[in-house]
Symmetry: C2
DNA sequence: TGATACATTGTTGTATACGATCCCGCAGGT
DNA sequence: ACCTGCGGGATCGTATACAACAATGTATCA
């Protein structure tokens, strides 16, 4: 109410404006590095942006907090999470446990329609890179991994991988080192070929190597990167 | 509100009654089979029991919903989840991916204090079984698995295992077949011995076998168990 | 001049109020 | 007798109001 229909700006107020919707939008923005780690997400502010009350914002923030995308500090507010270096290692260790075996399962049941979608992901990722939208490329790259879990028909594991991929996006935002074009695309293509050939063993190996490459592209030795301050993040905002 | 101190019955109104506290209490009750799958958790009712408002209850329910311990249905309410047979399989497949390797890691860094705690868990489990408290035994059995992830110093994976163990408890409530005393205790002891010997390979194997045993003790073929109704669950309430 | 204590302000935590949606039971028609 | 449309009751979804806490800025004192 209160004339939420027009409001000032963004899309807002499509139909129901459920909390899940707000959470999704925020998650996407974080995933695409449109909101950087450490940023404060004030309830009032978010509510105003999306044209909803603090109640629904609060629910959305709690949801994101549970995915460890944001950190909720009592009486202080919500902040985009800043995974520490140990946490970053753990995330990729968890991925190393889950994804290779899942890729194997996926290879054994890949259908033609799946390959079409995977190719679409890769194409979109290339397009985003060509357009200079690095954040979006990171997001799409993550979606590729999630898609593989979907092919494996493992919803539970897919849920976990979804969380890990989202956190990986934060980790990339914090510890990305090698800004050379995402060579991952190559790995993704190789993975897709392994799936097309129904070669589970190969898919598992490729995925394992891909994840190792990803970790090695991060700077997880330098301990100075962790206590990154807000001012540092924002540059000179 | 106000005057929630005495109320009618249960513990209620300890001190602050934060939403996390309510969620934890509910989770424990579900975990111990004090609340059975399919049970409706009305916001008003839960709020009254714990002496808090619907706001905090809602937050707690959302938290549990995210862990898939309860199912939230729009305008219908919250119900304790009833994992389907495919979901049950997925849960144990995920555990099979995570836990054996985690047990291996744990074995390589088990400290004396860890063994003490593990033994305490096993003892408590035996005591619960001796007292006929099957639900509590199931809970403690799950905590044992979580403790292993803690020893492995893998907080992220531990979080996942915590979720999976909780869901496993629901699955056991629904599909438990072999009511013979939980032979798991034996497996847990074997696991502890492997950890004490720092034998990672053995620990991994024992854990894998233990999980397979667990699955085989369930009835995941019978499809009639799924659509269990509320009245059936409650008997004649 | 520097440090501490206090008042102020802003933000979150919780409770309550109102509106929307859905389920259940009943009247009426075919 | 069965099916269909409608109304009552209850529950959830969202918004708002008040209270508590933390952070900040200012004034006073050593």
């Amino acid at each position: 109410m209160t004339g939420a229909s027009d409001d000032s700006g963004p899309r807002t107020a499509d139909p129901p404006a459920s909390s899940a919707h707000v959470a999704e939008k925020l998650a996407l923005a974080i995933h695409e590095h449109r909101i950087l780690p450490g940023t404060k997400l004030s309830e009032d502010e978010v509510g105003e942006v999306f044209g909803v009350s603090r109640t629904v914002v609060r629910a959305a923030l709690q949801h994101l907090s549970h995915d460890q995308l944001i950190t909720l500090r009592r009486n202080r507010g919500a902040f985009v999470a800043q995974p520490s270096i140990p946490e970053a290692r753990e995330v990729f260790e968890a991925r190393a446990l889950l994804e290779p075996r899942t890729a194997r399962s996926a290879a054994e049941r890949t259908a033609p329609a799946d390959l079409t979608r995977l190719q679409a992901h890769i194409d979109a990722e290339h397009a985003a890179l060509a357009a200079g939208e690095v954040g979006r490329a990171v997001y799409l790259s993550g979606q590729f991994h999630i898609e593989i879990a979907r092919i494996a028909s493992q919803d539970t594991i897919r849920e976990f991988i979804t969380q890990l991929v989202a956190r990986s996006s934060l980790i990339i935002a914090l510890y990305w080192q090698r800004r050379s074009a995402l060579c991952e695309s190559h790995a993704h293509s190789a993975l897709m070929r392994a799936l097309a050939a129904h070669d589970g063993t190969l898919a598992e190996e490729v995925m394992q190597g891909h994840l190792l490459d990803l970790v090695s592209s991060l700077d997880l030795q330098n301990r100075a990167a962790a206590p990154r301050s807000l001012h540092e993040v924002f540059g000179g905002r």
